[in-house]
Symmetry: D2
Subunit: 348 residues, 4 copies
Amino acid sequence: MFEVGIIGVTGMVGQQYVKLLAEHPWFKPKVFVGGKSAGKLYEEAVEWVGEYEPSKELMRKQVEPAEPERQKADLFFSCLPSEIAKELEAKYAAIHRVISDASAYRMEPDVPLIIPEVNPDHLELLREQRKRRGWKGFIVTGPNCTAAGLVMALKPLHDEFKLKKVVVATLQAVSGAGYPGVSSLLIIDNVIPYIKKEEEKVAIESLKMLGTLENGKVKPANIMIAAMCHRVPVLDGHLESVYIETERPIKPEDAKEVLRSFKGKPQELKLPTAPKNPIVVREEDDRPQPRKDRNAGNGMSTVVGRIRKGIDDYSLRFTLISHNTIRGAAGNAILTAELMYKLGYWEV
Amino acid sequence: MFEVGIIGVTGMVGQQYVKLLAEHPWFKPKVFVGGKSAGKLYEEAVEWVGEYEPSKELMRKQVEPAEPERQKADLFFSCLPSEIAKELEAKYAAIHRVISDASAYRMEPDVPLIIPEVNPDHLELLREQRKRRGWKGFIVTGPNCTAAGLVMALKPLHDEFKLKKVVVATLQAVSGAGYPGVSSLLIIDNVIPYIKKEEEKVAIESLKMLGTLENGKVKPANIMIAAMCHRVPVLDGHLESVYIETERPIKPEDAKEVLRSFKGKPQELKLPTAPKNPIVVREEDDRPQPRKDRNAGNGMSTVVGRIRKGIDDYSLRFTLISHNTIRGAAGNAILTAELMYKLGYWEV
Amino acid sequence: MFEVGIIGVTGMVGQQYVKLLAEHPWFKPKVFVGGKSAGKLYEEAVEWVGEYEPSKELMRKQVEPAEPERQKADLFFSCLPSEIAKELEAKYAAIHRVISDASAYRMEPDVPLIIPEVNPDHLELLREQRKRRGWKGFIVTGPNCTAAGLVMALKPLHDEFKLKKVVVATLQAVSGAGYPGVSSLLIIDNVIPYIKKEEEKVAIESLKMLGTLENGKVKPANIMIAAMCHRVPVLDGHLESVYIETERPIKPEDAKEVLRSFKGKPQELKLPTAPKNPIVVREEDDRPQPRKDRNAGNGMSTVVGRIRKGIDDYSLRFTLISHNTIRGAAGNAILTAELMYKLGYWEV
Amino acid sequence: MFEVGIIGVTGMVGQQYVKLLAEHPWFKPKVFVGGKSAGKLYEEAVEWVGEYEPSKELMRKQVEPAEPERQKADLFFSCLPSEIAKELEAKYAAIHRVISDASAYRMEPDVPLIIPEVNPDHLELLREQRKRRGWKGFIVTGPNCTAAGLVMALKPLHDEFKLKKVVVATLQAVSGAGYPGVSSLLIIDNVIPYIKKEEEKVAIESLKMLGTLENGKVKPANIMIAAMCHRVPVLDGHLESVYIETERPIKPEDAKEVLRSFKGKPQELKLPTAPKNPIVVREEDDRPQPRKDRNAGNGMSTVVGRIRKGIDDYSLRFTLISHNTIRGAAGNAILTAELMYKLGYWEV
């Protein structure tokens, strides 16, 4: 059993960590780090949003201020707001292992941006990170919640058919905006076709994760990605409809087979948080749907459906759903921690 | 003042006709045609859905069975379910002028599929129709509700930049499925990424409307269109996010100018149902939105926003909204009737 | 292990039975009875609504027509539409044990209307039923979904403080109307303050269940009940806000204690479907809420909160939530079956 | 034409004032008063929520700080948050006429709490106010948005049947919580059975408004009121289901007649904002509904339906809807201003 800390424990993703770690076989939540709420009990500090109810023990844990030098844990998960993550995560990484959902370090050349099934080899960037930063710990990041599901589905297709172009339209859940996040006055009987900086993140992060490690650096994939992001009145689960163009001919049946048989290191190593199938393919006309499919594989599987022809033999359309606060945040980070431990990356 | 009939008057689009015609300066609703509800008063036959309340006079009109030979009106608007429209509309057209929102005749080579601002010249197909069918009346059709807004925005862009490829993702309102239509059990906290036959209709109808009249026939536009359609928990207004590729370089600022300055025959002729601007361009980051923009131009304007670069100088992204039961159905048909009258097409 | 049948297996409550019985320790779903869908496989016949997915084995069970004489099972659960339940349930009861959620027999004087924690003694009516009807089997009913939660909360209060008057306002979920049920066009951004016959059922059924068994008959409780029912855009869980007047003085703290400590036969007998606490009392200002509390006790607990003074020392206000398709239908019937078995009522 | 100021102009009710005054025949919005937003143009300061779009002229008005001594207007409408209203409104009233939607002064004995159709005679309290406070101006208040609709319906019933007891359950729109107000994460697929201090306000304010003026003071009505308040996923319009007990026998048909024929001073004086009917009675089973009825009489009418027996001849049940930001706030205050002008109360 390792003891872990959660930095930003009162936010939506922080709450997801508390839930997922409550029953984790390896990790025990020990340090709760908050900002304004430091000094309070967790139950006083948090406005708990979900249906799950944490144990009394967790609810009565003291929230501590961000003082890395006074805190002791084997690993810290960070889900800080981006604007303060840059400075604070560095302070933690100077001493501690840090796995972060924040966007601050994702695109730094010496920071791995990891989906464990997709690019575990990118963890090798840590050698460069250690050299360059001189930290005793490290920072490893997970992607934007929309990029997480997208890249999971694109990876096997890229390996097999070589992607040239991706046009993706997203229908994103309100939980992606945190709490209180999206006002009900804006979203009842409505859709908002804009999420700040989201389209840029989806494109640039996807290219990094689909990129190849060459000479200790990640060379981004050479794919054109155009994202069009929308907020819809759905609680959880980002749905994405994707049009792709490929270098090699792509038939829907072949694409299905490739997606269905995709496995990664987490499945091979039978990590505790690894879903049996990172990608679940559905054959029904009208799936995936947020409410029905967001919890597939305990929220860790990407469900892909409506796999059909694009406009010719070199293009394809499909729809996917991925749970934004699990695979798109806390769950992916926990799986990354498990993978890193098993592969020996806790000591770089 | 002309007297008009409404075939299928109890459905969602039928209700929209009743509303729009209640105050129309040229057309007076006279004949209400229904199926199972024939013989009842309209107020007994209809489950009125919207907030608007028709006058007592209209609510107490008798619904008549579909017996074209016994009915007298200067024009019939039809919004029949597709499966019965084929046969019944032909019977009406044998005697009467018919403008239809049903899909049955849209793709017939001798039937105009019209958005008045986009392709009024296609009304010339009526010469061929009369010759071939021997009807005393005619059938003119309006497009699928999703194609209506899309083609309105694509037309000026195609004229100026020549379209090669269109990828469109739609977020469609529940009113598009009629009444009772989409069960609340399916759509609360959810999205359904599938609407039967919709993607095919959007592609094929758009190409016909953007096509050119050559030797009395419509030659479809040579554009690749891939649609990805979704139902969302919104009452009215289809939102569509569009990625296009063009033959000529396309800058966002130029595209805006082209869209903003687009006008058609209805504006030129100052037809009663013509919106001042068929396309309204918004500059805000987060517009258009269904609730805020669906009623622009009394539901007859297409609102376009988020006009931004695609992936290179030959591509563009934008979002549009169009009112599905007004511009996408009843309103477009009424405007078509006005245009045909003014241009002399009532007598072919 | 007993083999059970489900009559009306394709509807919303039928689906709930399939889900709840899939893992039941005593009951194994064997016979699926449908109407129009007879002859099909269950997966072809059902439009499965919930997130749960039944096993392949269950999905490929054949749906049979309603032919009681040709069917064999230890017990039948019926969730037929009321209009056909009267005749069909009698046919089944002539041969089989029947526990029904339909309203057809609820108010018959010789038919028990049972919430296992509330009025298990009413099962004694079966003696009279057998005598009068001459059935080899029996019919036992469960209450309307709104009455279920209400009576659960009223029972201990009535026992302790003696109720005189109840005014209850309900905010009911759309699943209570079955599938497709409530059109999304009616309920998005809206509330419907009317549910056909619901207010009458709530009053009359509650009085029967709170009544006393005297000389083999149920004497209804002498309480004035006024219900005001509303449909709201919520998927599952009926919320009810209740104002009561009592004969004895009632303090909020005393009421809480009485509710909190309430237990019934099912808890005593540790029946498999019995929740640990039939009533869960919450202290937060803003609970219970449908989404957070409907699944308490696996949907079998009634969650009561906001217990506060009424207008004087003889009145009280509180809010409760109860899962309408579990405690309000399938779950309550299954618990009744368990109770009847344990108490020896399978053989009357 | 009078020039008016709006204090708290950027909030939800402030926006409603801007909309309603834009076309007002007597009042011209001149002074916009804000807090943190002072110094900005209105379009920079406001996050405009509704579908209506104010004119450029209004959007480019400068927002001024709260400096009553430097501002000049014939009347100020205040919709300040309660916590700052107490002090700030007094400063304005020392110099200016103030009509306020804030709760700060509603229950002060010398401050009229007015619904123009219900208790215009309470304006006489202004004599006492002037004497006691020594203000050159005055403060007149409007009720809580839930009390507004309730009291409108109760007034004629109280006059005719004499109320003894009222139990009211409310289903309130999210706009009542202001902007951003209720998080979408809390209200999608949910109901919140609690609104802070609302139930107390509904009771106490209703009693004041239904009270009688005796010796220059308001004697509260002697009615027992128990409110149970809920927030529901509806944009605008508070729906309230009401159970009443009366001293005199009350038949549903008589109650309808009394409600239907109710008129007040505003109707008599044909004030510009007065609805033709302050109360609209609907006969349909399923009305009123928020979406269909909230805009009756331009949001100034209270729509009452489902008028039916209570539990005996001395009780009644009915449902009403009232637009919370129009009759429940800005519209009621504007009508009060009109009434006061006509009755000569601008000069006390």
